[in-house]
């Protein structure tokens, strides 16, 4: 049947395809590049934590020097899993890429539909584990941000420092507003009356969660921009804007 909606219902899925698609293409390029991901003292968030011996700026060189490919490949699974199984991103890509449905009251693209009742979509149910790993990675990103204010042993602020700080704040916000986290800190309870700490945590998580989509998009865009900035610095296209020496 022809949909009766006459508004610009296709606009939202189109924007999602463009933004998400651009990010994916860019991050594949940047992640495989295996170069230009470090510019003293900034490490691209796509390459953190750096766990190969060959890394320009290794955190934990647990992978020996036999690994010659991009170190980003080894860690990409964690943030990727977190975003792919994220309840908000699921909404967005089921709509924009799967067209199930492309927009409300617009027919599905496919004839049959089983939702998340079958493999591989059953894996979506393990979002909470992706959350835990993504949160562990956040520790490294905070460490990177701390280092980004250290210019050869002296405190300083460059545009890159601020970008890395913004990036890690947004990523933390994105994790803190996660639906699974909201459940784990207190949402599983039926009565909060004798659990005031969990109630408070749950209330905060709830407040953040109502803005989960905004955290998701903002952090995605800023991760890309941060990498791009460091990449351009490293390639010598830009010079870092120093605010405090």
């Amino acid at each position: 049947m022809v949909p009766e909606r006459r508004d610009l219902w296709w606009l939202e899925p189109l924007v999602i395809v463009v933004v998400l698609g651009t990010f994916v293409l860019y991050s594949v390029y940047a992640g495989l590049a295996n170069a230009n991901y470090f510019y003293e003292p900034y490490l691209s968030p796509l390459y953190s934590p750096c766990i190969t011996a060959n890394c320009v700026h290794p955190h934990l060189p647990i992978v020996g020097s036999y690994w010659n490919l991009s170190p980003a490949i080894l860690i990409v699974a964690f943030p990727l899993a977190f975003r792919v199984t994220c309840y908000y991103y699921r909404r967005s890509y089921y709509r924009a890429f799967f067209w199930a449905p492309p927009a409300c009251a617009i027919p599905d693209a496919r004839k049959s539909y089983a939702g998340e009742t079958r493999f591989p979509f059953l894996i979506q149910n393990l979002h909470r584990y992706a959350l835990i790993f993504a949160t562990l990675l956040l520790a490294f990103l905070w460490w990177d941000t701390f280092l980004a204010f250290n210019f050869n042993g002296r405190f300083g602020i460059g545009l890159g420092s601020l970008l890395l700080l913004t990036n890690v704040v947004l990523l933390s916000g994105y994790s803190a507003s996660c639906h699974s986290l909201r459940y784990l800190v207190g949402g599983y309870l039926d009565s909060f009356h004798r659990a005031s700490l969990r109630y408070r945590l749950w209330s905060w998580a709830n407040w953040l969660n109502a803005r989960h989509a905004r955290w998701a998009w903002a952090s995605l865009v800023v991760v890309g921009l941060t990498d791009l900035y460091i990449r351009l610095l490293s390639m010598g296209v830009l010079t870092d804007l120093r605010i405090v020496f």
Binding site: M1, P3, E4, R5, R6, D7, Y87, R90, R91, Y94, R95, A100, P101, C104, A105, P107, D108, S112, Y113, A114, G115, E116, T117, F121, L122, N125, L126, H127, R128, H179, S180, R182, Y183, G187, Y188, D190, S191, F192, H193, Y199, N209, A210, H212
Partner: protein, 260 residues
């Protein structure tokens, strides 16, 4: 205004031209057409104040309550298309057979409270009821059921999927501070929670602004994960289990409805 007219599945949109007054809603115009042009035009309505959820329809393709859709939203002279909700079988004009919902309602294990406090009173606290009160705002307009693509576009899923309205209902029971029935396995197996791919259209159309997806469906999914999919939670349960397993909740006897 172009209104769907027809008995059973056959029909077409018929155009009516009527004058409108300030402040009118779509339902007012439908009533005016009924009074002046088409006395047998079938339409459900009751309160005309967005409180009973009877006058659900699709206005220019968007699922809405006709009583809460103001004519001032549309450009002057624009023809407005009003169609019956699409997910349910047509009866006549704007009236559809929504018995799907009443049949699903019969399959939900009822509220079963825990014992009273020793002084014979029941105590619940506002912070405990706030969350469930949001779900109790549901007026059963079934717009979420209408817009949900799982049954809107896939008729074959109807037997195994209860729809957003009943996830709201199940969430209200599951999170009720006094309730003791455990419905999590039923929610997955019988009500088809896994069919939901959280595309949030139910939330978008809800006239009561219930955050169906974020506050009802996703927390239910998380609870089902703990009960069914999470290996650590499963292991913890095995270690902690001291008493017998909870008895399965009883499903109320489902009678065949009297039919027309």
């Amino acid at each position: 205004m172009k209104i769907w007219r027809g008995e059973g599945s056959a029909g077409e949109h018929v155009e009516y031209v009527v004058p409108i007054d300030a402040g009118m809603v779509v339902l007012d115009v439908v009533h005016r057409i009924q009074a002046t042009h088409a006395p047998d035009l079938a339409v459900r309505w009751n309160c005309k104040a967005g409180k009973c959820g009877s006058c659900s329809a699709e206005v220019n393709g968007a699922p809405k309550l006709m009583c809460m859709t103001r004519m001032s939203e549309f450009a002057t002279g624009e023809a407005i298309t009003v169609s019956p909700v699409r997910t349910f079988p047509l009866i006549k004009d704007l009236v559809t057979d929504v018995s799907f919902n009443y049949e699903k309602a019969k399959t939900i294990p009822p509220f079963k409270p825990k014992p009273k406090d020793p002084d014979g009173k029941r105590r619940m606290y506002q912070e405990d009821v706030d969350r469930v009160q949001e779900f109790h705002k549901c007026i059963e307009c079934f717009l979420c059921q209408d817009v949900c693509h799982v049954i809107r576009d896939h008729e074959e899923n109807k037997p195994s999927f209860s729809g957003p309205r009943f996830f709201v209902r199940l969430a209200a029971l599951e999170m009720h501070p006094l309730d003791t029935n455990d419905r999590l396995d039923l929610i997955r197996a019988k009500h088809g929670l896994g069919f939901c791919n959280i595309t949030k259209c139910c939330t978008e159309v809800c006239p009561e602004d219930i955050h169906i997806t974020d506050n009802a469906i996703i927390p239910l999914k998380e609870r089902v994960v703990t009960a069914q999919y999470d290996p650590i939670a499963w292991a913890l349960r095995r270690i902690r289990r001291t008493g017998p397993a909870l008895p399965a909740p009883s499903v109320p006897p489902s009678k065949e409805p009297p039919s027309a």
